[in-house]
């Protein structure tokens, strides 16, 4: 399966984090700081992520369940730093 940025995944999609790459994200924070903030929310390589909810306008922000544990809200812009290997629906169960 190819890698997809978390910020471009549709609602209900599920996958495993393959890498965090903040260098291309146009954010208020420096790339290294954004990387640390994402890591601090438990978004490390190997963790499972699933988009549970999304906002009405521009499908933004998104609510992401991380490692079946906790749910975090973030914007698609920052979420695009998280590269995800998608799971097929049958594997996601």
């Amino acid at each position: 399966m190819p890698l997809v940025p978390l910020g471009q995944m549709p609602r209900g999609a599920c996958g495993i984090i393959a890498a965090i790459d903040t260098t291309m994200i146009h954010s208020h924070l420096p790339p290294a700081e954004l990387e640390r903030r994402l890591l601090e929310l438990g978004m490390v390589e190997g963790a499972r992520v699933e988009i549970r909810h999304q906002g009405l306008f521009g499908r933004d922000p998104i609510a992401v369940r991380v490692d079946c544990h906790a749910t975090f809200a973030l914007r698609r812009r920052e979420a695009s730093a998280v590269m995800v290997r998608l799971l097929a629906p049958e594997d996601a169960k």
């Binding site: 438990g42 490390v44 544990h69 809200a73």
Partner: protein, 635 residues
């Protein structure tokens, strides 16, 4: 034994006196703090900085007196904001004038240990011993999560104890442990290198280790919390969620305005009664005037808003405890983002409908300095309850009470319109500020945990209300009181000469200022009497109503606007009345708000900006309204 009784015992010198609570957001840390300390807590600032310091005291069953510091919720000791820098420095003992805590209680939500374990692993590098508290142990058990505490303790190398902060007796084991530790303090787990801010590589390694320990010691059912999943299907639904949010806001405002009516009447009648009592006991003169018109009238006019503020905070605290406020921020982030505001600004702006002061203080939850400043700058534009008496008076006097458009009351519509203008201008101004001041910076990221829902604890809500009520009354008793004394003096001195026929206020310094300001305010249709009323309105907007009453030398108060309204309708043109309404939508004249902004931003610069831009808006709006109304023949 009661706390007071124990204080009188001769003081021993226990080895353990200072502990601190640290933990992720939403771990129930504050509930634990409240359970420990009850109302024996004090909120102040750290020496020299405007960062909130929350400390309480309590006694363990073994008679150990402990001071406990509640540190703000965090995922890492790494400082991401000035507030977190202070937290880090306190823990590391680097802040001058502040002793480092001797023991850290790391509080964790038992149902959600993954990130807490990473924090614990990071804290192990500190010189202090750390104890892990598995809070909400009852909820974890209920959900079928089992935690092997012995194994967890062995893996982490620190004591691990379960706790249920919200239940009586739920902290017994923890308190007993504290007694035990005071006799035999555990050695620090630091390996000697000390704590350093973890970089990306360290964070990954720590999280991997935390995940290993988590898998080893925690058994979870395959299904996570189904109740939260089910509730979120509705509350976070793109359309239904927004409708529910609107419904909650509607109920909240209904409550603020209807439930509060009776206690507000009681308070204002109480102050009236005190004023009458003072009139009977003291001779007519300066002292009576000071007591009745200065002290009682001034403080009473502010204290009367206590019920509204408490009801609003009741809703905010309950929703926060339930876990809804993070969802509200999620739903509103995009909408507010369009105006350049952060999703987290939603709660502070909501509080500003009661009063801008708690609203501005609530902006502390916003991490980014610019997002926080933008929120502070526009919070005073939200229609606070102090504007209501002014609106009620003028609408009652000048807007005919008739039905329009099938049953809607015109007066109610105008009131609603004034609120709408306030909200709209707050959003518009924040958009302008973002463009003018911070054009080149992209917005700060929105990263927020959506915690599992849980039933609010009445005790925590009660203590939260008590603290907020106390803070409000303290302000009414100090800042606002001293302002009122100054304004009373301006309105009373110099005394009218013997045989003077005009009302006493015509001879006062306030009248002199009112005339002096006339050239400024005449173009927007204000008479000198209105100018005089604007001066006491500086202390608190609603005082302007009482001041108008004094100027037109009739006894009227905020809760009896009928008679004053009648007189005003005779004196003012409709254009003047509408201009005054427009003025009050924006009017910057609230000295306590400006003082709060100064305290929160650490300088007069931002207060001056707020005063300046709101004054300009108010003037332009009143000018436009006055001349438009005159052109329509209402002058």
């Amino acid at each position: 034994m009661s706390y007071e009784a124990l204080q009188q015992r001769p003081a021993a010198t226990p080895s353990l006196t200072r502990i601190a609570l640290i933990g992720n957001p939403n771990c129930g840390k504050t509930a634990l703090f409240n359970t420990f300390t009850g109302s024996h807590q004090r909120v102040a600032n750290y020496p020299g900085v405007t960062v909130e310091r929350k400390e309480g005291r309590f006694l363990t069953p073994g008679g150990l007196e402990l001071r406990v510091l509640d540190l703000p919720g965090t995922y890492s000791l790494r400082a991401r904001s000035p507030d977190e820098e202070v937290t880090r420095d306190v823990v590391l003992g680097r802040l001058p004038g502040e002793e480092a805590p001797q023991l850290l209680l790391c509080v964790a939500d038992s149902t959600n240990l993954r990130l807490a374990l990473r924090l614990v692993l990071e804290l192990r590098a500190l010189p202090q011993p750390v104890v892990l508290v598995l809070n909400m142990a009852d909820i974890a058990r209920h959900r079928g999560i089992t935690i092997d505490e012995a194994k967890l303790s062995a893996e982490l190398g620190i004591p691990v104890l379960p706790a249920v902060a919200v239940r009586r007796g739920g902290t017994a084991a923890l308190l007993a442990k504290l007694d035990e530790l005071s006799h035999a303090p555990p050695p620090p787990c630091a390996s000697g290198t000390g704590w350093a801010a973890p970089g990306p590589a360290e964070l990954r390694a720590l999280q991997r280790e935390a995940d290993r320990i988590n898998a080893l010691c925690v058994q979870r059912p395959t299904q996570p919390d189904t109740a939260t999943t089910r509730i979120d299907k509705v509350l976070l639904h793109p359309i239904a969620g927004l409708l529910v949010l609107l419904g909650i806001l509607f109920i909240m405002f209904q409550a603020v305005f209807t439930w509060a009516q009776m206690p507000m009447d009681l308070i204002s009648n109480g102050f009236d009664w005190l004023g009458t009592l003072a009139g009977q006991m003291l001779p007519n003169g300066l002292l009576l005037s000071f007591l009745r018109d200065g002290v009682l009238n001034g403080v009473g006019n502010v204290v009367v808003f206590l019920p509204q503020i408490l009801i609003l905070f009741f809703f905010i605290l309950v929703l926060e405890d339930f876990g809804y406020m993070a969802r509200a921020a999620f739903l509103m982030d995009k909408i507010m983002g369009g105006a350049g505001l952060h999703g987290r600004a939603f709660i502070p702006l909501l509080s500003s409908f009661a009063c801008a002061i708690p609203g501005i203080m609530a902006t502390r939850v916003i991490d980014g300095k610019r997002d926080r400043l933008a929120t502070i700058l526009v919070a005073p534009l939200m229609t606070c309850s102090a504007r209501i008496p002014v609106y009620t008076l003028i609408i009652g006097a000048f807007v005919p009470n008739r039905a329009v458009w099938g049953g809607l009351q015109l007066q109610g519509l105008v009131m609603f319109g004034l609120y709408a203008v306030g909200i709209f201008s707050a959003l518009a101004m924040s958009f302008v500020f973002k463009r003018l001041l911070w054009r080149r910076t992209p917005t700060e990221p929105f990263l927020l945990e959506l915690p599992d829902y849980k039933l609010p604890s009445p005790r925590s809500v009660g203590i939260g209300l008590l603290l907020r009520g106390k803070a409000f009354l303290r302000r009414a008793g100090t800042t606002i009181f001293s302002m009122m004394v100054v304004i009373w003096a301006l309105c009373t001195l110099p005394r009218p000469p013997a045989g003077g026929s005009a009302p006493a206020i015509d001879y006062s310094a306030a009248a002199w200022i009112g005339h002096l300001l006339a050239p400024v305010f005449a173009p927007i249709g204000f008479s000198w009497q209105i100018n005089v009323a604007l001066i006491p309105g500086m202390a608190a907007r609603e005082v302007a109503v009482a001041a108008l009453g004094t100027v037109y030398s009739i006894s009227a108060s905020a809760d009896n606007p009928g008679s004053l309204g009648h007189v005003l309708a005779g004196h003012w043109s409709i254009a003047t009345a509408l201009a005054l309404l427009a003025w009050y939508v924006f009017s910057p004249q609230c000295a306590s708000t400006l003082a709060t902004i100064r305290r929160e931003t650490g300088g007069w610069r931002w207060s001056a900006l707020v005063f300046g831009y709101m004054f300009a808006l108010a003037y332009v709006a009143a000018f436009a309204t006055y001349h438009a109304a005159c052109a329509l023949g209402l002058g």
